[in-house]
């Protein structure tokens, strides 16, 4: 350990040391993978044109989904119909290369996203953006987004999608084989958002520094952030304990519980919209029978899971709609731990016992613990579960084949809206709809909701959706664990992001 093991040294040189479990796989947001650490980093080092504001709920600061503010942009406003959105850029904003950020960069970046046919292109579909033509350059500082239909989601969706590349620089590295300069972009950090990438050592660490050219509100509070890769949670813990790191991103739930007791260490806690659920494949036997699904829903030991797996640090939920999402209603999931009811439901299905596979992520300790508890309880009513941890590659393939009877899922909606939830998780063909759930009425409500912008009206629709879900039980929704972040106690300014991807600009060190 260093001499400053008392934990005060960090702020001295204005550097915050953060441990992350893995190195970002790539610097390219368009063409490559789904990697939480990389996604988190992108939020901080890409120039996003608009971003969430901050609001305080129950004393904790969280990102404000109602208030989306322009950052690198000057404004982002719709027309009266909510269909054409105009993005105005600030003048004189430059990339690290010295090139000015103009409408052409926005256009090139969006064209690139459409060309990649991956991440952004996927979500843009929700707000009716599918073709490059729909993004039009009006002048050097004005871009219009022509949506196919008006949408209530536009602001939130654009808040996570409106990042730009330094197109001039990128194009210098484009080749005939590689018109979008993927090779170069994958290997070279972007121009800078709240932070710039000072240096990046493959696999080991990324050094961020405050971006002096950041033009908008809420600039980074800390001068430097050193992200060090420490895959083993126990190592993160030791280093936090010894004051060699200030923030540990990637510790397990059980460590958090002990860390609260330690001197010099604080655990920042914030309610989160992360949902933990067991998705049941409604098309594969035996879960094609709603009674079997109900039986499982009754057999899950919700409270025990919250107590044992999350150390009490999770919120029970009564709906598939997350707690803090507008439209949440308690009628959405009327199931509690009740073995008799579970047996009764199974009887109703005409079955004595059923067997099924419960799939979860291979290196996810929390899911594993949860699976073990569910397995043990379910066995008591005759549901024999075989636990199958799958590595990411196999899991992706199996999900694509849509033949996983039961799987534990955990995740957070990037957009805090039920329409988005339906779009991503509960309508036919939705990407996260591992249950293959389909209810024609819900499909209909979903279609309708695209163009409904009025809040009360929308809530009405969502209530109906939750009633339908309560009958169909496509998921056993387990809980919403709180977000916990172990830090040295001088670290402050944490803002809980709505999408779970840390915005580091808010962090500061108090000593």
């Amino acid at each position: 350990a260093r001499d400053d093991a008392d934990g005060t040294g960090a702020a001295g040189d204005g550097t915050l040391r953060i441990a992350v479990p893995s190195y970002p796989s790539s610097w390219d947001q368009d063409f490559v993978g789904f990697d939480p650490i990389a996604l988190m980093l992108y939020k901080n080092v890409f120039p996003y044109l608009i971003d969430y504001g901050v609001t305080t709920v129950d004393g904790a600061e969280i990102s404000d989904t109602e208030n989306i503010i322009p950052t690198f942009a000057e404004s982002f406003e719709p027309d009266a119909e909510n269909r054409v959105w105009t993005l105005r850029l600030r003048e004189g904003v430059t990339f690290a290369s010295g090139n000015e950020l103009t409408a052409h960069d926005v256009k090139w970046s969006k064209d690139r996203a459409f060309a990649a046919q991956a991440n952004v292109a996927g979500i843009y579909r929700l707000i009716g953006l599918t073709e490059p033509d729909q993004v039009r350059v009006i002048d050097d500082y004005t871009v219009e987004f022509h949506q196919a239909f008006p949408s209530a989601l536009t602001r939130e969706i654009q808040a996570i999608s409106l990042y730009v590349f330094d197109s001039q620089e990128a194009q210098e590295h484009a080749t005939d084989d590689d018109p979008w300069a993927s090779d170069w972009i994958a290997g070279n950090p972007p121009s800078g958002g709240y932070f710039r990438v000072e240096s990046a050592t493959q696999g080991q660490e990324v050094l961020l520094s405050r971006n002096p050219d950041y033009p908008g509100p809420d600039p980074a509070q800390i001068d430097q952030i050193r992200l060090t890769v420490v895959p083993a949670a126990s190592n993160q813990r030791l280093q936090l304990q010894n004051g060699d790191i200030d923030v540990a991103l990637g510790m397990s739930q059980r460590d958090v519980a002990d860390l609260r007791e330690l001197d010099g260490v604080a655990v920042i806690s914030a309610p989160s919209n992360e949902q933990v659920a067991i998705q049941m494949s409604v098309e594969t036997a035996p879960f094609d029978d709603v009674n079997v699904r109900k039986a499982l829903a009754y057999a899950v030991p919700y409270e025990q899971i919250i107590a044992n797996v999350y150390g009490g640090d999770a919120r029970p939920v009564q709906s598939l709609v997350p707690l803090d999402m507008p439209g949440y209603d308690e009628r959405g999931y009327p199931y509690t731990y009740d073995l008799d009811a579970a047996r009764a439901a199974l009887d109703e299905a005409g079955l004595d016992s059923v067997q099924a596979e419960l799939v979860f992520e291979t290196d996810n300790e929390t899911q594993q613990q949860l699976a073990v508890l569910v397995q043990s309880e379910a066995a008591k009513v005759g549901i024999e579960l075989e636990l199958t941890p799958l590595d990411p590659g196999t899991l992706a393939e199996r999900r694509n084949q849509k033949n996983i009877p039961l799987q534990i899922t955990s995740g957070q909606m990037w957009v805090n809206d039920v329409e988005y939830l339906l779009a991503t998780s509960l309508t036919e063909g939705a990407a996260l709809n591992y249950s293959n759930y389909r209810n024609s009425e819900i499909e209909q409500i979903y279609e309708e909701s695209h163009t409904v912008v009025d809040e009360a009206e929308r809530n009405q629709l969502w209530l109906r959706v939750q009633e339908l879900l309560a009958e169909d039980v496509p998921w056993a929704i387990i809980c919403q664990p709180n977000f916990n972040l172990p830090v040295r106690d001088h670290v402050t300014g944490w803002v809980q992001p709505v999408d779970g991807l840390a915005r580091l600009q808010h962090l500061s060190s108090s000593s």
Partner: protein
């Protein structure tokens, strides 16, 4: 023979000059190794076989009130994060670990020896082809190979036996092939052939029994290695499926607890693993000393 640098023990002027017998001590030590190794393994086997007798908990039985309970009370060695009894799991894991290791090595020995025997004795094209194939297989470090094959076949005890057998078999094939090649030059093989014995009989009756000495010595060492491989695979999540009681998986699950002062979740499986592997190593070392075979 003589330990040259050492002087004979001083003797009375007329009495005999005596040299201390190193061979005797060597033999005693090797016996000691074999007995100690055997005893350690014997204890493991007894504990494994009689596991249910020693503990009131099932290996996967959850005590909902006692997650990460410290040793003592209802749980002799405490519980893990799932609330499962460590003592019970450690004992039950012995079955699986010993079983997989011994099973895998047995499969590797049988398959590898058969290949090596035939190739080494018959020689020629078959031998060349096999050797080239082995060259390719052995160009992969074993653990890397095990990783890939485990990822390929997926977890589960049976698959793990196959994985470990597969990565070990080439070594046996080589070992036995080399022996067979030298044994086939020995006069008694020629004698058997001139007696008119068919090839299989020569192989089975004369060549094979004389090729197995190094195999017998290496196999126990290999069992120990197999257990470590298994543990390593489990540590990386490529071993047996949870919550099956297996030492490597238990260590992996409990590794994070040590730094929090909860030694009981990973130290007992670690110790059991250590003792078992050590048992195999001691046994192997002892046998090696006896047989005078070099590694």
């Amino acid at each position: 023979m003589a330990e040259l640098s050492a002087a004979p023990r001083p003797a009375a002027p007329d009495g005999p000059v005596v040299r201390v017998l190193a061979a005797q001590r060597a033999r005693r030590f090797s016996t000691g190794l074999i007995v100690t190794g055997g005893t350690l393994l014997g204890i493991m086997v007894v504990l494994a076989v009689a596991a249910p007798l020693f503990t009131p908990w099932g290996p996967n039985e959850i005590d909902p009130d006692a997650s990460l309970a410290p040793p003592g009370g209802a749980h002799l060695l405490g519980t893990d994060i799932n609330g499962m009894d460590i003592w019970s799991r450690v004992l039950h894991a012995a079955r699986l670990d010993l079983g997989i290791a011994v099973g895998a090595v047995a499969v590797a020995v049988v398959a590898g020896s058969a290949l090596g025997l035939v190739a080494g004795y018959l020689g020629g094209r078959l031998d060349d082809a096999l050797m080239r194939l082995l060259d390719i297989f052995q160009a992969f470090p074993t653990f890397i190979m095990a990783l890939v094959v485990a990822a390929l076949l997926g977890g589960g005890a049976f698959n793990l036996v196959l994985v470990i057998a597969l990565v070990n078999a080439p070594a046996y094939a080589r070992l036995v092939r080399a022996e067979a090649r030298s044994v086939r030059e020995l006069p008694f093989v020629a004698a058997a052939v001139t007696s008119g014995a068919p090839t299989w009989a020569v192989l089975w009756r004369h060549v094979l029994p004389n090729c197995l000495t190094p195999v017998r010595v290496i196999a126990p060492l290999n069992c120990g290695w197999a257990m470590l491989t298994l543990a390593g695979l489990s540590f990386l999540g490529l071993g047996v499926p949870v919550p099956t009681a297996e030492w490597g998986a238990m260590i992996s699950l409990g590794a994070g607890d040590v730094v929090a002062g909860r030694w009981w979740t990973s130290v007992p499986p670690g110790l059991f693993l250590l003792v078992s592997v050590l048992g195999f190593s001691l046994l192997g070392e002892g046998l090696q000393e006896r047989a005078g075979v070099r590694a």
